[in-house]
């Protein structure tokens, strides 16, 4: 049979191509363009080569925000993943409790980022916030505006509050897909609660956990809005994560070259780390 060729089909793809070009390729190329040139305005550009990249890579300020970001991601993963699993394990499997729990879990996910930031900014305030006042009344000298530790504490609690639900919902989906027979067999085999978790529930949650870790890592590594609203990156630079720093460089100081170089490095780091996570976890999965 002869194949029919119809080149009109290309026109069908055109809208998508245009859309992707305008939404992704062209902006990205602009960034690349800025990252290798220097400009003093007036649309005058001078070739800078890898100068900005070297500058960013050697800048202590960049190292510091990268470090903060890594620590932040590590802490929230270490809290949200186990906490999410524990909550998912204790959620009801049937009855009226299921929809109630699911809605309660989904609520934080539905709140826009800057609203979450505002909520916690007010919530934590020492003068009017519920949390701030309560802690003050308990005799704890809590002040996230001045104390870096308190600022970190607030930002982390906020993220845990906002995003643990995602891990919970993913794990819950993994858990409900386990047939009853597995639990019955485990009962018959005399398995302890821990053994049931270790040998039945955890292996079945494996894949969703991989997705949860990836999503939470990428998201937390790109976090911007909430800490920006709550702490504005302060006190000092203590909660200045990469994206906040990037905005400071690009918009605050209008250093387009370094900012562009930083964007690209930032992007590559996320890509690299996600790839590493993914490969390590899928290989681990295949081995077992």
């Amino acid at each position: 049979m002869e194949k029919t060729w119809n080149n009109k089909a290309w026109f069908m793809v055109l809208p998508v191509l245009l859309l992707v070009a305008f939404s992704a390729v062209i902006p990205l190329m602009t960034v690349v363009n800025y990252s290798v040139q220097d400009t003093f305005g007036n649309n005058q550009f001078f070739w800078a080569g890898t100068e900005w990249f070297e500058e960013v890579l050697h800048s202590e300020r960049f190292h510091a925000s990268l470090g903060r970001n890594l620590v932040f991601s590590f802490i929230i993963l270490a809290i949200e993943v186990p906490l999410g699993i524990i909550i998912a394990l204790n959620m009801p499997r049937k009855g009226w409790g299921v929809p109630v729990c699911l809605v309660l879990m989904a609520l934080p996910l539905l709140i826009p980022w800057n609203v979450v930031g505002t909520i916690w900014q007010v919530f934590g305030r020492v003068d009017i916030g519920l949390l701030g006042r309560t802690l003050a009344n308990l005799g704890i000298n809590y002040n996230y505006v001045q104390n870096p530790m308190h600022a970190w504490f607030t930002v982390i609690i906020m993220d845990v509050w906002h995003w643990t639900s995602l891990v919970v919902l993913l794990c819950y989906a993994g858990l409900v897909s386990i047939p009853d027979a597995f639990y019955q067999a485990a009962k018959i085999d005399g398995a302890s609660r821990w053994a049931v978790f270790r040998y039945i529930q955890l292996p079945k949650m494996n894949r969703v956990l991989l997705i949860a870790v990836l999503l939470r890592f990428m998201d937390s590594f790109m976090i911007y809005t909430e800490p920006f609203v709550v702490t504005g990156g302060g006190p000092g630079n203590s909660t200045t994560f990469l994206s906040i720093d990037l905005v400071k460089v690009a918009v605050g100081q209008f250093d387009l070259g370094p900012a562009a170089a930083m964007s690209i490095i930032y992007f590559l780091i996320i890509l690299l780390l996600s790839w590493v996570f993914y490969t390590v976890m899928t290989n681990y999965d295949a081995e077992r």
Binding site: Q184, K187, I188, D189, G190, A195, Y199, P203
Partner: protein, 355 residues
């Protein structure tokens, strides 16, 4: 191994059962012998899985008691009952090796390491998986996985009974035969009390010494495969076992004769059921003779299924299936005769009369 006594057991899934209809399992009162191989046979929803789960302790019966060797275990948990169960879909611990899967129930019970090793190796031999011991269980085929589920029961020396819940559903047909005969061998060699739930009559008849036929929440007959075939106690048994099932037709009894439509048939022994609403005559297709004498029938259809032919005929308005040997004669003016030893009489669906 243990004798299992089912003492007036009834079960309803809803609370507050009022009438018989609310019971998924109507009264069951039987004793199953130690070391027996029983098959629970019946269509979907007849209560056979409910009964199995009551024995295994996954369901607590609404009424009645369950005894293992005379000891009341009704209120004991599944673990305490010491039973093994093989489920419809293979349940294995994916992340463990075959060896660890079998060792798991023993380790959970704190059996000493040397004993575990000895029992596991022994069981691996029994289920023919010795060479797979160190492989991850997840890479195995469905029938091997089912063997592991079985092995996890066999490995415990103290199990009271091994329960099977339609264990061959996901197994390829030719492997079904192999597994079934291996099960039978294990039973003969080690004398486990086995209870096997299935809706497949071939499976039940080949596996079990005693087949328990269930229908609509009741046990309608417990018998050897032969008894079920020759003397079905209930028209349902006649219809459910055999392929095709028993021919059942309404008759009128008078003296030693049965009247079907306008025809009279001599019964092997006279029966006179008292005040039954419906009297029926049942005869298996194997006992209907197609020939040139007897009652005239019309042939509706002939199905050739290889070993023999199934001839579907009409005797007046009554459908009658007949099995004719391959190469058997199908006359142009067909008549049927009933072999007297295959005739059973049913009053309100239950068999009446001797033997």
């Amino acid at each position: 191994m243990a004798r299992i006594d089912l003492n007036h057991i009834r079960h309803a899934y809803g609370s507050n059962p009022r009438s018989d209809k609310d019971y998924a399992l109507k009264e069951v009162h039987h004793s199953w012998e130690d070391g027996g191989a029983y098959a629970l046979l019946g269509p979907s929803g007849c209560g056979k899985t409910t009964l199995l789960n009551i024995i295994s302790g996954l369901i607590h019966p609404s009424h009645g008691q369950l005894l293992f060797d005379g000891v009341d275990v009704t209120n004991l948990s599944t673990q305490e009952r010491n039973i093994a169960q093989v489920f419809q879909f293979p349940v294995i611990y994916d992340t463990m090796t075959v060896y660890d899967n079998l060792a798991f129930p023993l380790r959970n019970r704190g059996v000493p390491q040397a004993e575990i090793d000895r029992k596991v190796r022994e069981t691996l031999e029994m289920i023919d998986l010795a060479s797979w011991a160190d492989k991850k269980a997840r890479g195995l085929t469905a029938d091997q996985k089912q063997k592991i589920s079985l092995g996890r029961g066999l490995v415990r020396s103290d199990v009271n009974a091994i329960l099977f819940d339609e264990p061959l559903t996901v197994i390829d047909p030719h492997m079904k035969w192999v597994l079934r005969s291996q099960l039978k061998q294990l039973h003969q060699r080690f004398g486990y009390t086995m209870v096997y739930v299935t809706h497949d009559q071939t499976e039940a008849l080949t596996f079990a010494q005693k087949v328990v036929v269930m229908y609509d929440g009741e046990i309608v007959q417990i018998g050897t495969p032969e008894e079920l075939f020759e003397r079905p106690k209930h028209t349902f048994v006649g219809y459910f076992i055999g392929s095709p099932g028993m021919n059942v037709m309404p008759v009128k009894l008078s003296g030693g004769m049965a009247q079907i439509g306008s025809h009279q048939i001599q019964l092997p022994s006279p029966v006179m059921p008292a005040n039954a609403k419906v009297i029926e005559l049942g005869i298996r297709p194997e006992y209907v003779r197609l020939g040139r004498t007897g009652m005239p029938v019309k042939i509706a259809k002939v199905e050739d299924i290889g070993r023999h032919k199934i001839v579907r005929t009409k005797l007046e308005n009554q459908d009658i299936a007949i099995i004719v040997e391959e190469g058997g004669d199908i006359p142009a003016e067909p008549h049927v005769a009933f072999d007297p030893k295959g005739i059973n009489i049913y009053a309100d669906s239950w068999r009446v009369g001797g033997q």
